[in-house]
Subunit: 597 residues, 2 copies
């Protein structure tokens, strides 16, 4: 009963009018991404999301994945056929290196496409998503032989990939991991150990599954300094590139989870499985972080994606469900009651979600563009600064967009009243699916700590200063634009709160690091609000310019400005509360002794 | 794997030292509730919750209820036996009129007991909970004959009860309801129609089910002025009180829900079912509100109850799970890593939940005591004022405690990392169960509107003024108590924000009611924060007095004060953001035309 329509026009407005991505047509791949190509790609991706992925969403939730006694896993009805269509469309390699069969289009376009697929079917979109993460790690750190062996088939989607980090006793703290790798003298290793929570670990949609596995080489140092990364294929690859014998890896069980039932979350058992090293010995974490960073952006995108589809359905319901009368008098005299969208509190929910979605979409595309510059610019300084800004923004995108994405799925469900709680209406699934995004790829508490404890201070705070400068300059440059005053005034207030919080850490967290940990969650969300506010200021300016030109859909641009106003009036005031909380430090939360809890 | 321990000592501290409930021993039933009786009742209730209800919680979630082809419904394994034990303990009538077999003990004690039962097994506790709501309505509005016919068996738990309001096309807006009642000339009516979302509508635990059903007598006025309330038993009751023939009522299906799987949520079909009128014709809503108000408090209590059990399990996990090291240096050198409770962000989550639970418990018991005064005091003025204050507090308790209860279940789940998402660990169930409490018995948006649109202005705002005075007087009376200054200063700031928001409505919502609707959600939560802050001020003072006396468990009282400080530093600052949002009014949220969404 739910429905989904890809927000193509909004993506186009952001890419063309707000970010003006054509400015970057000197970067490799951007020249191929002319406006008409971009629009064609987005429209086709929207069609695939709506017609292929979305119809499999509820059935995926209801059926889930089934593990058989031989360790094989069957995905829900239709998934295999759906994946064939995805492969045929060439979507896996959209942004990937043409040397291995990819299309080399901008990452920002790949990101826009991924939003639609995750909205339509998050559990299904994870199969290619994990594969793309594995492709990225092999591409950056693999040997030529590894690249030639694995990448072309992965780019085609004939083979898929996974990430294997977590073990039963260690998730966040990878220094505790025990999976061992024993060198065989022929350049290969035998891997033995157990990994848990392996998304897409085993399934029936590809001919081979390429596992990227963190393990400890015999005799390696303790802790994170002794971790290496390995490629461990489900089936050995013969010299001619064909699939050979089964390797010593199997799915021991699949988890019964709260959501994303369509994705097989596996316990993977490695028993003398043959693998090859990726990158240097004991430098596995570094190689893994290539995947992790991409995966974290992908997870942030899931938060946005679920928020968007949940919003669309809440709007439909709010316009159809009649119940009660408007507080200012009946609006639909012809009906027995008004549709609930007339009620301010229903509007409050819808506008809260909407004002997040449209800014969240801009935020993630703005960040993806920085990633394109980081990876494609020939200006090394510019590339390095954009890489650092991406590093700074990654935990904000992951943490804030998934926290809020979940909250908004809950809000959208609330609009349905009792029907929201009944599975057949589909809103419960959005809540249950969105929940995992706050947890995996580094729980959001870890994102906040990464932001405050690592990213803020990197290179003397160069990245965060660049962010402050970009936002501050926008306010300064537009100070005489009266139409924008309302928006820049509120944005500047938020920026001031963020800068004050940053200064508070500088002054109070050096001597007492717990003051940083105690404020990290609030800081991450304060940062997110300023970033989203900045996106609203940019969009407002672009919409005002379009209105002045008299071009395009007036209602669309009016809506943009109205939604921006809502954001600054209703969402942005939270920055003060975040600052107030941060400034109280760690004392009250650490006061009760551990054993007195 | 989860566990539960009833927080009996905390309840006793609140009843004895904070609320000093013995002050009220002139009220009927209170004399029987001596401190040793109260403690004995609570300890036995805790035992029943831990040993009878709790072991059935996960199995209830996993098995759910099954409807058979003949319309009968089987509850999960063990529920029937568990209900027998509940009946044997005499819990159903703990606070009920002794004339019908109840024990007549204070409602505040019944409320304390209900928290434990809902923590242990929310879905199970709903069977008696609905019965008690039905008992209350019959007790207040039923004829002597109806009371004699139904109440004694219900008080014993031999028969259970339900509430039937919702129809497929109407929930909030009961004026739209269509179920019809045709007078038979013999004082009975024949009821025909369909009701949905009927909790405990059909099951195998009682000999008869007494449905209270809203319906429209033929020829009655349209809208809510034509609704009457009927008793419709599943089986007719013979003149000798025994169970007779089946009535024309049956369970058409049971809903597949996000949570509370152990409770059967039924579609109930009435087909010329024989019923008798409760109260006056066309005054059904008034009679139904007796049930609704009690049910709303019960639902608020569910929010607290789930927050409590989820918190307990999060604490256990945080003390056991080792991962990473404290930011201020290793705390447990003997282990490979520190337990995660050393991390400030983990503490932030735990303390946020704890500071809510202990204040929420006090809030609901403080309100329950007002209900006792309202229903038992011989001083009619005092009774009336307390009744009005209960009316004012009911939407706050329902809306705030369930919104926060759900948020806290999510926070507690987050502490488990990936394990929180796996069903067998039990944390997902708390989230899924808690979710319904925000929806049923009037979705929280309706609670907020009830507060702002109806309760605030009643009798010239007498109740809200009394609340402001009580909180303001506490701050004033303790102004020279230096130990309390920190706490009363923050409480006074919150109260000022609440009073400013109230004044804003007075000035801006008369002419434009949408300004009230637009701020209602924030106002309800602002109100909740002040009420919870007041509870913390009261508890802090009581704890300080105990410490001065040197009596009792010093650590317990130190923890109280530390938790109170956390609440005022970390939770209370939100009052400013609520006020800021309220003061922006309805314009930005109503700006986009309905059809432009």
């Amino acid at each position: 009963m739910p429905s989904y329509s890809a927000p193509i026009d909004d993506t186009l407005f952001i890419l063309n009018d707000v970010l003006k991505y054509e400015r970057f047509n000197n970067l490799p791949g951007f020249a191929d991404a002319s406006p008409d190509i971009v629009e064609a790609v987005l429209r086709e991706a929207g069609r695939v999301a709506e017609e292929v992925f979305f119809p499999l969403n509820q059935v995926g939730d209801q059926e889930g994945c089934v593990r058989h006694d031989d360790g094989s896993v069957t995905t829900p009805k239709g998934f295999k056929e759906g994946f064939e269509k995805y492969k045929e469309g060439g979507w896996m390699g959209l942004g990937f290196d043409p040397e291995y069969g990819g299309q080399g289009l901008p990452y920002v376009l790949h990101t826009a496409v991924s939003e639609y697929l995750s909205s339509a079917n998050m559990a299904f979109a994870m199969y290619p998503g994990l594969t793309q993460g594995a492709m990225a790690a092999i591409h950056v750190h693999g040997t030529d032989e590894q690249k030639q062996t694995y990448l072309p088939n992965m780019v085609e989607g004939i083979w898929t990939g996974t990430m294997n980090l977590t073990e039963p006793h260690c998730g966040t703290d990878l220094g505790l991991l025990r999976t061992k790798a024993v060198p065989q003298g022929d350049g290969t290793y035998k891997i033995t150990g157990q990994k848990i929570f392996i998304s897409a670990g085993e399934h029936d949609m590809s001919d081979n599954i390429i596992h990227l596995v963190l393990a400890r080489i015999e005799g390696a140092p303790e802790g994170v300094k002794g971790i290496s990364l390995f490629i461990v294929p489900k089936f050995a690859v013969n010299d001619d590139g064909s699939v050979g014998d089964a390797n010593g890896v199997s799915c021991g069980s699949i988890e019964e989870k709260m959501g994303i039932h369509g994705n097989s979350t596996c316990v993977m058992n490695y028993d003398d499985a043959v693998g090859t090293l990726v990158g240097e010995e004991n430098k596995g974490l570094k190689a893994m972080f290539i995947m992790m960073n991409e995966a974290r952006l992908g997870v942030g995108l899931q938060g946005l994606a679920i928020s968007e589809v949940a919003y669309q359905n809440a709007v439909t319901y709010a316009k159809e469900r009649i119940q009660g009368r408007s507080l200012s008098g009946a609006k639909h005299e012809d009906k027995k009651a008004d549709p609930i969208i007339v009620h301010p509190d229903v509007r409050r929910n819808l506008m809260t979600i909407r004002s997040f979605n449209e800014a969240g979409r801009a935020f993630i595309l703005w960040a993806a563009l920085k990633s394109d510059i980081a990876h494609r610019s020939e200006d090394k300084d510019d590339a390095a600064l954009n890489e650092e800004m991406m590093g700074l923004l990654t935990p904000v995108i992951k943490g804030v967009l998934t926290d809020k994405g979940f909250d908004h799925a809950v809000m959208a469900q609330q609009m349905y009243g009792g029907h929201g709680y009944i599975e057949e209406w589909g809103m419960s699934q959005y809540v249950r699916d969105a929940r995992i995004a706050m947890i995996y790829e580094g729980a959001n508490g870890i994102q906040a700590l990464d932001l405050v404890g690592r990213k803020l201070g990197m290179n003397g705070g160069r990245a965060v200063q660049a962010f402050f400068k970009e936002v501050g300059d926008f306010c300064q440059d537009n100070r005489e634009n009266e139409e924008l005053t309302f928006f820049t005034k509120h944005l500047k207030k938020g920026l001031n709160d963020l800068q004050a919080a940053t200064m508070w850490f500088v002054q109070n967290a050096m001597a007492k690091p717990e003051n940083a940990g105690a404020g990290s969650h609030d800081y991450m969300h304060l940062f997110g609000l300023v970033a989203l506010g900045y996106m609203w200021a940019l969009q407002t300016k672009a919409a005002q310019e379009k209105l002045a030109e008299g071009a395009g859909d007036k209602q669309y641009f009016d809506n943009k400005i109205a939604t921006s106003r809502f954001f600054f009036e209703r969402v942005m005031p939270e920055t003060s509360a975040h600052l107030a909380r941060i400034s109280t430090g760690a004392d009250s939360m650490m006061a009760i002794p551990e054993d007195a809890f």
